[in-house]
């Protein structure tokens, strides 16, 4: 016999979800041939569960018509309903009482006459977030490289402690763009190393939104040395391997699309893949993070000067020259060189100061006798291949990649929902200069130095990272941090996950914005051409140190570049930051300091301390006047001498840029800047051409 026939009963509905959300229900009662609905009932889960209001599901006595009940979930696009499970408080289950149809359960309180529920009925709805699988495509050097199980990249202890960096020699390529050691293989995508959280923070953030590594979250480790244009021995490219990876993910998960997060070079590989598979790329959303769409001048530096990847201080660490040797024939570095489109957009990025007719001036001084040339794109290619003996085959391969079709390709036309997160607000080198000069013996020598900064992430200028067809409302700007930290740092990390998963993680507007005007640089750029080292301390004790050619940089949004003896510092002054800048001579000769005031990314004043004597005993400070931003030097040429204040040799206000050759003369540039180049064009100190000489 039923234990509680015709009794009053209450339905308790609980909603479970693997990721919190809001769920829509409708409760209905069937009586006398009609359904009477409760109206929409929203249940929001908190800590993965939520409770709906109780609903009366009492039985009717025999003299009344029987009643039935229905609970139906209207499942949103973001979730799927995996299970409905109903039971009585005596634990009794009966298909006679409960019948399940898709997203609803029907309750017939008298459906089973042998037993019945007592006072309470419980129904649990289990929801799962529908997750489009995500693939993270790292950038250059973002995948670990091994040789016979020994880690070559990035083996931080060996980088620091190995007396020579020759353990990384197997990473080098031959002149003919083949690996010098065929036993080198890839390992995992780098997650975390000392001082750098590359993808670990991002993975953890995705995991908090219900993604599971290996099931819905995937990595694409690849041999980054080949870049986009390089080909493996079997003719495959990294974009071919990306296709394989995407196909594997689709097969494993049963999904129709994957969402892609691509960092730096990874974005170029994704772009090439989409171009090759425009109708069947199977990419839903793509988020480009710090992608050098039209290249980055830092790649030129890596090829002609080398780069220690931030590993080094004093006698330990990576050697620029060793890294230059390893990079020489790698297609990947050439793929990141500034392209014709970069040149068309931003102008020349290499300037030549020819001081060979002018032996009495400093290496980077500009006099009436200095011939200044801003290289056009073809001259730049010649400069790289002929003057610097770089790999012409690799350069040709990179040019073959960066065609107009590639650089202007609109991924949206291939069905990709494209977003970009661009690091800005950090001073980034956009132009450098080569000086030719004669030494005492009449030999012609060359030297390199950075010469111009603009906004970017410290590696990729914002002109390059934003140079792709994309909806304006899908462009985001990260206001802090640097290129290699963009994936996992606060702000951009949450924004990436929000864009991909639809979550609403809080993103501080001081960290990520959609307003490009917040990216403007405001600060001081100081270029030191000299055998003089500098170190900087800000008001909170954070430092930039340049010791023996190696650097540390703790100051947010500051930048430093080192080219041999020459250094470029960018020190932000948006918030009135104060700095102590110390100098220490490292050799005998002369030094020149160029201090530029930058306001809203424009150089508004340049102060030049030209051709001052340097010795190893020289010490001093570069002082920035907090009132008018002017710069003075306080120098002790020797340990015995008294400190002396040095004012700039020349001050060039930024608002008198000449617009014609006549103006060029009138404004007095000839007293310092080289007025005319070989083409008789009027040029200001910054290399901007203002017209032909009459």
């Amino acid at each position: 016999m039923p234990t509680s026939a015709y009794a009053a009963k209450t339905l308790h509905t609980t909603v479970y979800a693997d990721v919190d959300g809001t769920f829509l229900f409708n409760f209905a009662t069937y009586v006398l041939g009609n359904w009477f609905g409760s109206g929409p009932v929203y249940v929001t889960t908190n800590n993965l569960s939520g409770v709906a209001p109780d609903y009366d599901v009492s039985e009717n006595p025999p003299e009344y018509p029987p009643v039935y009940y229905r609970i139906e979930e209207t499942v949103s696009q973001e979730y799927k309903l995996s299970t409905i499970k109903c039971y009585c408080d005596n634990g009794y289950h009966s298909t006679g009482i409960f019948s399940y149809t898709g997203t609803a359960v029907y309750i017939n309180p008298l459906g089973d006459t042998s037993l019945s529920c007592s006072q309470n009925i419980y129904c649990d709805f289990y929801n799962q977030k529908i997750i489009t699988p995500v693939l993270i495509v790292p950038g250059i050097a973002g995948t670990e490289m091994e040789k016979e199980s020994n880690l070559l990249w990035a083996n931080v202890p060996k980088m620091i402690l190995s007396p020579s960096d020759s353990f990384m020699d197997p990473l080098a390529f031959n002149q003919n763009i083949t690996p010098s050691d065929s036993t080198v293989s890839i390992s995992d995508v780098i997650k975390k190393k000392p001082s750098l959280d590359y993808t670990d923070g991002l993975i953890n953030e995705f995991t908090s939104q219900g993604y599971i590594e290996g099931q819905t979250l995937f990595m694409f480790p690849y041999d980054w040395r080949y870049g986009v244009s390089g080909k493996y021995a079997d003719g495959a490219t990294n974009s071919d391997l990306l296709k394989q990876k995407i196909d594997e993910i689709l097969q494993q998960t049963g999904a129709e699309k994957v969402d892609v997060v691509a960092h730096s070079l990874g974005g170029l590989i994704v772009k090439e893949y989409v171009i090759e598979h425009q109708t069947d790329s199977h990419i839903g959303k793509a988020i480009f993070v710090g992608v050098p769409n039209t290249g980055a001048p830092d790649a030129v530096k890596a090829l002609i000067q080398g780069d220690n990847f931030g590993i080094g201080l004093g006698p330990v660490g990576l050697n620029d020259a060793e890294m230059k040797k390893i990079a020489q024939n790698m297609p990947t570095v050439y793929d990141l060189l500034p392209t014709q489109k970069y040149y068309n957009t931003t102008g020349s990025f290499v300037r030549l100061l020819d001081n060979t007719a002018n032996s009495s001036y400093g290496v980077f001084s500009v006099s009436d006798q200095t011939v200044v040339s801003n290289f056009d794109y073809d001259q730049t290619k010649s400069f790289l291949v002929t003057d610097n003996s770089l790999n012409s085959q690799a350069l040709t391969g990179a040019e073959g990649l960066h065609t107009e079709i590639f650089d202007n390709f609109d991924m949206r036309n291939a069905g990709v929902d494209l977003y970009s997160i661009n690091g800005c607000k950090t001073g980034t080198m956009v132009k450098f200069e080569q000086a030719k000069y004669k030494n005492l013996f009449g030999q012609i020598l060359t030297s390199y130095a950075p010469s111009k900064l603009n906004t970017g992430d410290g590696t990729v200028p914002v002109e390059s990272s934003t140079n792709l067809p994309i909806d304006q409302d899908k462009k985001y700007y990260a206001l802090t941090g640097e290129h290699s930290k963009l994936l996992s740092q606060d702000g951009s990390r949450q924004e990436i996950v929000n864009l991909i998963s639809g979550s609403s993680l809080p993103v501080d507007s001081k960290l990520v914005t959609q307003e490009v005007n917040q990216c403007q640089l405001n600060g001081k750029a100081i270029i030191v051409y000299s055998p003089v080292d500098v170190s900087v301390t800000d008001q909170s004790g954070k430092e930039i140190k340049l010791i023996d050619g190696n650097t540390t940089n703790e100051i947010p949004n500051a930048d430093f570049e080192i080219w041999g003896d020459h250094k470029l510092l960018y020190l932000p002054r948006d918030s009135g930051q104060a700095y102590t800048i110390n100098m220490q001579g490292t050799g005998d000769g002369t030094y020149t300091i160029r201090a530029q005031d930058i306001s809203d990314s424009l150089i508004v004043r340049t102060e030049i301390f030209d051709n001052l004597p340097a010795t190893t005993e020289l010490t001093g400070q570069i002082n920035i006047n907090p009132g008018d931003n002017s710069t003075t030097l306080l120098v002790k040429p020797t340990s015995d001498s008294q400190p002396e204040t040095i004012l700039p040799t020349i001050v060039l206000p930024g608002d008198v840029t000449p617009s014609s050759p006549d103006q060029c003369k009138k404004k007095g540039w000839k007293n310092f800047g080289s007025l005319f180049n070989k083409q008789k064009e009027c040029i200001d100190f910054f290399g901007t051409i203002h017209g032909k000489k009459k």
């Binding site: 091994e146 931080v156 000392p194 001082s195 750098l196 670990d200 931030g310 080094g312 290699s484 540390t552």
Partner: protein, 104 residues
Amino acid sequence: MFAIPEILWSPVLNFYYGFWQSGRSGNVNTLRNNFLQKADNWNYLKFIILLQLIGLVLFLIQLIRNKKSIKKVKYFSILFVSLVVTFLVATALYLAMAINLRIF
């Protein structure tokens, strides 16, 4: 100054553990997870290790000053251990300053 941060967060021990782990493939795990292990807090880590180093140097100075009031064997034992720990902490600080890994 050395002991309390080490008891609370093990900055020096964690640093060496993570440093040697980064010489092999795979993720760098932490011995004791805490805020100092976040890469964003690398500067705090350096600062804490600097404080520990200062504490050790001050301890060494005090130890040498009070040389006569401590038995010889005990004195040299403490001095030896302190010098070794100071060397390790100084090395950790130097290495932490030398590393600012960048990936393009």
